[in-house]
Symmetry: C2
Subunit: 441 residues, 2 copies
């Protein structure tokens, strides 16, 4: 019997350590990202876990033939770390030995080792397993990891409990027809549009909970901002004084995440030329006031009194930034008719809800609000809407047996990332997007 002790042979030198090995030979593994021939030597760039590492191949010094170097080959290189003042890193990695672990069957049909992957978005996505190997393409998702963990670390710090709720469900939380149907052992089930019901139930258990997980929307929209599957950052909290508490919490979460990125993801921010928003305070404006203000300011007719047109969201953000400097704006008190059955109505005006959206650089990235916690109130509202309360029996258990005032929000991780990076399509920030025309790769 062998014993597995957890000892890993640290066979390669980490990039951060390189400087401590000047004058020595080191071992590095990686994929050959590009080879640039100069007059008397070649630059060989190695793609490692997070960094692209520059080595030099000098004939006579290297102990192998240059022909053995092929782009996208996976290799183990031995190299001498030589001090080099002109280099940004302060050293040069002169190749000595080479072990080839694998050689690609073909060269990539799309050039991936230039600064940009110069192809259509369709090609970019069709060849995702390859195009993501581009330095900037992958940096998007390293940054997304940072955003996600920034949020998570903040929420854990604030005593939110992380939960895992089911994605196969018996009833939709968001209503409407935008729900995927599933054959569940001969019965009909659905894919969760959000963890709404479950995170509310869990407020009764832990007071504060969050989940970062996929949600599914069978929307037939084919736009630059819709996805049929996305990663939703959801939190829900109890003992609200008002729904403003949720916006305060989100403001702090965003501030924390930006600081988290600044601290741990500097290289990706620089590579992608991201300017993190300044976040002092976020203006909050009532939906009705926002509609009127845009109409007045931009001489536009109001066509729909209950919703924003995409153009209005852009104009509002433009206006708010000009007037206040903020790239974020909370829009509050959305009309009751446009919000789900669990939304709490405003105390002053039942036509409005204690709800909000957060707009960021022209696009809605968060929807949130306070929920109804009284059993009677919830049942009454469902009946008014002609809903069959029997279908929601297990959801209503929590109301029946006692719930605190509570509310929360959902934030689309991909959409948020794409606004941060000022991309014109959310698919650029989605690892493997799902839309009405795409289920592969």
């Amino acid at each position: 019997m062998n014993q597995i002790t957890g000892e890993l042979k640290d066979s390669v030198t980490e990039v951060e350590e390189m400087k401590n090995h000047i004058g020595e030979e080191v071992k590095i593994h990686g994929s050959i990202y590009s080879i640039r021939k100069m007059s008397s030597f070649s630059f060989v760039l190695l793609r490692t876990k997070r960094k692209i590492l520059q080595c030099t191949y000098i004939p006579g010094t290297a102990e192998f033939e240059e022909e053995k170097l092929k782009e996208e080959s996976c290799v183990i290189v031995t190299a001498k770390v030589v001090e080099e003042k002109r280099s940004k890193t302060g050293y040069d990695l002169q190749m000595r030995g080479l072990e080839v672990l694998s050689v690609p069957e073909e060269g990539s049909p799309i050039v991936i080792n230039h600064k940009l992957v110069d192809t259509s978005i369709e090609n970019l996505l069709n060849y995702r397993p390859i195009t993501l190997r581009n330095e900037k393409q992958r940096a998007i998702f390293k940054l997304q990891e940072g955003i996600c963990n920034g949020f998570r670390q903040f929420l854990l710090k604030e005593c939110f409990t992380e939960i895992h709720t089911p994605k196969i469900v018996q009833a939709g939380a968001e209503g409407g027809a935008n729900i995927f149907r599933l054959d569940y052992f001969g019965k009909e089930a659905y894919l969760a549009q959000s963890p709404q019901f479950y995170k509310q139930m869990m407020v009764g258990v832990f007071e504060r909970v969050f989940e970062i997980a996929p949600v599914f929307r069978a929307e037939r929209h084919d736009t630059s901002r819709h996805l049929n599957e996305y990663t939703s950052v959801d939190f829900e909290m109890g003992y609200l004084e008002s729904f403003t508490d949720i916006m305060q919490m989100e403001t702090r979460m965003l501030r924390f995440a930006f600081a988290y990125l600044e601290e741990g993801y500097g290289e990706e921010l620089e590579l992608l030329k991201v300017k993190l928003p300044q976040l002092e305070a976020i203006p909050a404006i009532r939906f009705r006031d926002a509609k009127e203000m845009i109409a007045k300011e931009y001489c536009r007719m109001i066509k729909d009194y209950e919703d924003f047109e995409p153009e209005e969201e852009k104009l509002l953000c433009e206006y708010i930034q000009r007037e206040t400097g903020s790239e974020f704006v909370f829009v509050t008190h959305y009309p009751s008719r446009k919000r789900p059955f669990y939304a709490m109505e405003s105390r002053e005006n039942a036509e409005e809800t204690e709800s909000f959206d957060l707009l960021f650089r022209g696009l809605e990235v968060t929807t949130g609000g306070q929920r109804i916690h009284s059993y009677r109130e919830q049942v009454k509202k469902m009946e008014q809407r002609g809903m069959d309360t029997g279908l929601f029996e297990s959801y209503l258990l929590m109301h029946k047996y006692g719930m605190p005032p509570h509310g929360g929000l959902g934030l689309g991780l991909e959409r948020f990332t794409s606004r941060l990076l000022l991309q014109d399509n959310v698919r650029y920030s989605t690892l493997f997007p799902r839309d009405i025309n795409r289920v592969i790769p």
Copy 2:
């Protein structure tokens, strides 16, 4: 326009702070967990975010009628912190004022505030939103948060990139009929049985990746260890020297997670009487040898030479613990015919794979192994198995354009939790289980 600055009114005193307020009045919010009447006063237990807090109601001292206290009411309490040497906490919380935020419509049909929820597993699950409010029930999921974050923190530390891959897919990774079908805008799609294909693709991008997300298995088993949806902890790593590297990494991950629990989840461990396993080294035994050893040791006939019976997994664990003291055992070199098409065959013997399972206290909790990285080898194996390689075109892109030797594993979070807690059914460690008979709550 209002300004949201992120300022939260810290209106309540956190449990950890209580000691610093002796002699003062504090404000606490929570749910009334239980009321125990004594001869001249009552104990009132408040359920807060993580702790159950004991207050005392003393007639004459409290400024409200005792009748206002109802179990599962949500309240804000003002209390005086009085030093009390006999109390475990060192203080007593004497109730003064009470604000009732909500009153349950009915009393719970199941007693939830005793040490154990004394009911059938069916009832426990049917009333999940309520039964989870029990102190021990919810502690299971607080601990699960700790396990999950222990794994995650370890993987981030080891330079694994966290990814989010799609759950709606065009082809199954694990093969077989155990896959849920979905109507995707008129076309057939499936629910991912694992992130296998995607995490492999991402090894070509980041070298090391992980994902913690739901997976879906349409298995018709109705056993104490199967779920149709569960949370899978998946990691995948490149530049393996052998598949042993994966087991080494997992051993370290487990060790890290246990230390993480010990540090941050002491109260839950104590409440649930969890004994964390000692993890010095994990024995590894070949599948074939394990089968023969069990047969010999326990005088059993070998019925199936290619798989374990559940009873054999139990006996193997029993034997290994007796002989080595380890509660874990790696079983390696599973037969090729029982492993998926992407499993790498053993160099010495093509009938066996470079794969392993990890058994923990009688049950398999992890499956892992090295994958084929050569395009030709992968295509050949698929053809041998009669598979249509055209269906896997986007999967094979990564092999075609170059992949390092790589492998990884998947660990079932709920199953792992339930073994750690020595439960006889994985459903006890599943927040809202999905099985062949259950999609609610």
